[in-house]
Amino acid sequence: MTNKFYKRLFLLPGLLLLIAIIIFPLLFTIRVSMANWNVSQSGLDWAGGANWARMFHDGPFWSSLLRLFYFSFVTTTLQYVLGFAAALFAWKGIASRRFFRVLWLIPLMTTPSVMAIVWRSIFREDIGAANGLLTKIGVDPIAWSTSIFPATVTITVAEVWQWTPFMFLILLAGLLSLPKEQFLSAEIDGASTWRTFWSITFPLMAPISIGAIIIRLIEASKIFDSIFNLTSAGPGSATETPAYYLYTRGLREFQISYGATMGLMYLILAILTLTILGQIFARLSKPRGI
């Protein structure tokens, strides 16, 4: 029927364009992960599962994955909590003025790689703003780039600064579209602010929250720009994430095949994690009772 034609007309151009762009890189990555290829070589050889075997014994890769759990989950949680708080304040009351809303959105608009450079200048141990301020209030300067914990903190700060506004924007938009009736009745019942939040606002915001969290987790797990420009994965490999590790192996040391192998592994793990998370979220957000 003609309906079928239109049905396809909507989806297929976009889907096919996407597939056309992505199909070669994906197939190539799969193939190259089973080779031992470097750029100077003209053809692809066959190395079977050698790269895969190597990966399973590659300690740094797995520890970078573990580190990623910190970077993605901790930063996303912080962003969600702070973003929700900011959204609540900007929803009603004093901070709902234009000035605050615009101000709190600004970090989202800035370029992460560029801001990482700014953060690096702030966390410079000798002439940076952070230590400058600390000395002014009588605290000893901190070795931001040479000890593990402070280096992790700098990345966390940069990520929270950059992406909390993402949560803020999505959650604020969600709050503004909530039905007003339920809040009115809660007000009439004399429910406390805190109870209103937990029993009405939070559950209503669950679907939006889940979408925002999933997208943030996907993006946060690729964390690269800030590490590249801020700590270069240092000190040592203390802030090295998979994205950075496979960049080093694949593009800096030209172990392209091995980089591809790790990339695929990462893809598989990410899809698995997201599927499981999606299931958990779906179960959690199911309306209780009824």
């Binding site: 762009i21 992505i22 560029v114 450079i117 700014v118 996907i218 590249f228 994205a243 591809a260």
Partner: protein
């Protein structure tokens, strides 16, 4: 108590948001002494502001000129967003109104396929994209970069707009069809005019992610099509002094900050209501 906490949060959060930007702004006007001899914060009081940093990046001193990269970024972002928005909103509309299926893959799986394009770290895709663009003779061209960026931006557009279209009553487009529009005309004549908020949000995210992309631009372009982030990172890689670097940072984030005003305006008018669900 509650009030104190509230004001404290608002104050501290605003200060935190402003901190790095104001630091970069102040630093961009510093003379060498104000940078190299420890942190200084207040212009005129602690140092005499100079324009040297800004001269360095605007081609005045001959050190670097960020205007061509600005132009490149604008062109590439514009076209990548345009393409993503056009095809993305059609796909999203289709996914919201029709049910597709191929074997046991249904609409949610197709939506996940779109989103999953954002999972792969760019470092993995850089090499195959490099080879792809090279064979298409698109390396170091705007077209090539637009193509690659589109694959990352369209998923965002689809993700946002499927939910948006789901919220528009389907009776409106049914009505249009009953009154003589074929499904495509119904989409263009009734759904699109009603979707300005959704399209704005999706377009905005697309612009943000496109403008801010570093990796693909870094690997897939060299001298012809240097984008702003690449240019700034390149400055960072050389012995560029902090004041110049700070000026370049402010220079490259300034254009999009204007977007924050646009977004806020939509938010206040309720234009966003339902744009993200």
């Amino acid at each position: 108590m509650k009030k104190i906490f509230k004001f404290l949060f608002i104050f501290l959060w605003s200060a935190f948001v402003l901190a790095p930007i104001s630091w970069a702004l102040v630093t961009s006007f510093k003379p060498p002494a104000a940078v190299n001899n420890g942190a200084t914060f207040i212009p005129w009081l602690q140092f005499k502001p100079t324009l040297d940093g800004w001269k360095d990046i605007t081609g005045v001193s001959g050190y670097a000129n960020l205007f061509p990269p600005l132009f490149n970024s604008a062109i590439v972002t514009f076209f990548a967003t345009l393409i993503s928005l056009t095809f993305g909103c059609m796909a999203a509309y289709g996914l919201s109104r029709f049910s597709y299926g191929w074997k046991h893959y249904k609409n949610p799986d197709i939506i996940f396929f779109f989103i999953s394009q954002r999972i792969m770290p760019p470092a993995v895709l850089a090499v195959p994209f490099f080879i792809l663009l090279k064979s298409l003779n698109l390396l170091d061209t705007k077209q090539g970069l637009v193509l690659v960026l589109t694959s990352g931006l369209m998923p965002i557009v689809v993700w946002l707009l499927v939910d948006f279209f789901n919220q528009l009553p389907k009776e409106i487009d049914e009505m249009a069809m009953l009154e003589g529009c074929n499904p495509f005309e119904a989409f263009v004549r009734t759904i699109l005019p009603l979707s300005k908020p959704g399209l704005t949000v999706a377009g905005m995210f697309s612009v943000i992610f496109g403008w801010n992309d570093l990796f693909f631009a870094l690997v897939l372009t060299f001298t012809n099509v240097q984008t702003l982030p690449v240019a700034v990172v390149a400055l960072n890689g050389t012995v560029t002094p902090f004041w110049t670097l700070s000026a370049s940072a402010i220079f490259s984030i300034l254009p999009l900050i204007g977007l924050a005003f646009v977004v806020e305006r939509f938010l206040s008018k309720g234009g966003f209501a339902g744009a993200v669900r």
